[in-house]
Amino acid sequence: MTASPLVGVLALQGDVAEHSAVLDALGATVRAVRRPEHLEGLQGLVLPGGESTTLSLLLESSGLFEPLGERLAAGLPVLGTCAGMILLSRQVLNGRPDQKSFGAIDIVTRRNAFGRQVESFESTLEVTGLSEPMHAVFIRAPFVESVGEGVEVLAAVRRSDGSPRPVVCRQDNVLVAAFHPELSGDDRLHRLLLARAGGRSASAA
C-alpha cells in the first residue's frame, strides 16, 4: 500500500468538502474532479452526496460521463454516498426519465425513497465486516430496491412494514451507501476505499 494514494472527489456539486476532509485526514492526496483531465492517475474516487439530477446533467456537460464510466468499468475503486450511490446504480426508480447512471453496480435504487426532508433521520446500523455499529445520517435518502448476483449487502434498514432495505452494498470495486458517513465523522467506509485504492497502486508498481 502506498503512503498516500491519489483519490478524486467528484466536485461538480454536493458535499465535496466533507468527503475531502475525511480523505485528507486519512492521509490520501485529494483531487477535486471537474474535468476529464482530472481523472488521470486517480487510484480511487468518491461520488459525494448532492442532487443526482443536477450531477447527472453536469457530468454530461463537463464531458466527464463517458471517460469516468470507462474508468469505473476498468475497476477504479469508488465510494458513492446518497446521490453518489444513485449515480453508480444499474437502474434508478423515481428519478427523471433522462437521468443517467453509470451502471457500475448491479443494484436498482429508489430515489427519495423515504420521502421528503421531514422524513430524513439518523440511525445506528450494523455493517457486515465492521466490528462496531455505524451512525448513519439519511437525508432525503435512496434505498436499494433489488440487487443482482455478485452484489454483497453489507447493511440494511427495516421499513415500517418490517421489510429490510439494503443501504450499504459492494460489488468488486464499487462501494455504495444510501447515507452520509462523511457527515457523522465516521471514516470506516473511506478506509475501505483507501485500502483498495492503495492496493491497486502497489500491484501496478
Partner: protein, 286 residues
C-alpha cells in the same frame, strides 16, 4: 440539527431557483436546479406591485411539489410561525423566513427549534447570521437586495460576514467577548466561529444574482451555493439562462467555462440602482 443542516450541505455548489408555477419548476429542474423556491410572485413583482406579500397558496406549493423530484422550499413572513406550521404540514423541504415578504413581527423571529422542517434565514452581517442560527436556522443566506438584479448588496453582505469571521479568528479571549457584545450574538457561537473559521451552518448567497458571472463572483467570494430569484424568469430566455447559471456555479473557478456559458443568453432582467429604491428589503429583520 445534523439532519436539518445535512440537506443544506447536499445543496452546496448548486442553484436554488424562484418559481411561481409548476411549469417554471419543471424548467428549473430541467436546467439542473438543486432545489426550487415556490412562491406566488418573484421579488421583482412584489417590489413593483407593492401591497402585503404573504406565504403562497398551499395549492400552488403542492402543485410545484408534484411537478418536480428535487427539494421544494417556500417562504414565510418574518415571525409568522403560523405560516411556518402550514408549510411543515405541507412537508416543504426548507422554510425561508424571508425579508422579501412583509414582516409579521417587528421584534421576534420564529423559534425555529420548534420545527422539524429546517429553516433558512437571510443576514446582512455576522451578528444577524449568528442570531438566526441561535434561533435554530440551519442555513444562512445573504439578503442582498432582492428583485433588483443588482448584486452589489449581496457582495456587501458576504464580504461583511466572511470578513468578520476572519477577524474573529485572530481575536483573543477578551476580544471575543467584545465581539459577542458588538454583534449581539451568543458567546458560544462566537467561540465556535473563532475555532472553525466558518459559520456553524452553510452560507449561501441570495439577492440580485442575474448572470452566470454574478454566480461565479459570489462563489469565489466564499458563498457555498446561490439562490436566484427574479434573475431567471424575468430574463429573455429563462431556460438557457438557468442552465448557464448552473454551469457557472459548478465551475465558478473556471473562467473559460463561465465565458462559454455566458454567450448569447439574451437580455438579463433590467435591474435597478440601489440608491433609487423606495423600499430596502434587506433592512427587514432584527
Amino acid at each position: 440539527m445534523r439532519v436539518k443542516r445535512g440537506l443544506a450541505e447536499m445543496l452546496r455548489g448548486g442553484v436554488i431557483m424562484d418559481v411561481v408555477t409548476a411549469e417554471q419548476a419543471k424548467i428549473a429542474e430541467d436546467a439542473g436546479a438543486v432545489s426550487v423556491m415556490a412562491l406566488e410572485r418573484v421579488p421583482a413583482d412584489i417590489r413593483r406591485e407593492g401591497g402585503v406579500a404573504r406565504m403562497s397558496d398551499p395549492a400552488l406549493i403542492s402543485a410545484i411539489q408534484e411537478a418536480v423530484t428535487i427539494p421544494v422550499m417556500a417562504k414565510v413572513r418574518i415571525g409568522h410561525f403560523a405560516e411556518a406550521q402550514i408549510l411543515q404540514v405541507l412537508e416543504v423541504d426548507y422554510i425561508d423566513e424571508s425579508e422579501v415578504l412583509t414582516p409579521a413581527d417587528e421584534a421576534h423571529h420564529i423559534d425555529k427549534w420548534a420545527f422539524s422542517v429546517p429553516f433558512v434565514c437571510g443576514a446582512t452581517n455576522l451578528g444577524e447570521a449568528l442570531r438566526r442560527i441561535s434561533e435554530g436556522a440551519a442555513m444562512i443566506r445573504s439578503k442582498g437586495e432582492a428583485g433588483t438584479g443588482n448584486v452589489v448588496e449581496a457582495v456587501r453582505h458576504l464580504r461583511s460576514i466572511l470578513g468578520d469571521i476572519k477577524k474573529i479568528q485572530t481575536a483573543d479571549a477578551a476580544e471575543r467577548y467584545g465581539w459577542a457584545k458588538q454583534l449581539q450574538a451568543p458567546i458560544d457561537l462566537v467561540e465556535e466561529v473563532a475555532r472553525t473559521g466558518r459559520l456553524p451552518v452553510p452560507l449561501f448567497c441570495a439577492g440580485g444574482i442575474a448572470t452566470p458571472a454574478d454566480a461565479a463572483l459570489v462563489m469565489q467570494l466564499g458563498a457555498e451555493a446561490v439562490f436566484v430569484g427574479s434573475g431567471i424568469f424575468k430574463s429573455e430566455d429563462p431556460s438557457r439562462r438557468a442552465r448557464a447559471i448552473v454551469e457557472a456555479t459548478a465551475h465558478y473557478q473556471d473562467a473559460e467555462i463561465v465565458a462559454k456559458v455566458s454567450r448569447g443568453l439574451g437580455a438579463a432582467m433590467p435591474g435597478e440602482e440601489i440608491a433609487t429604491l423606495d423600499v430596502k428589503l434587506a433592512e427587514r429583520g432584527w
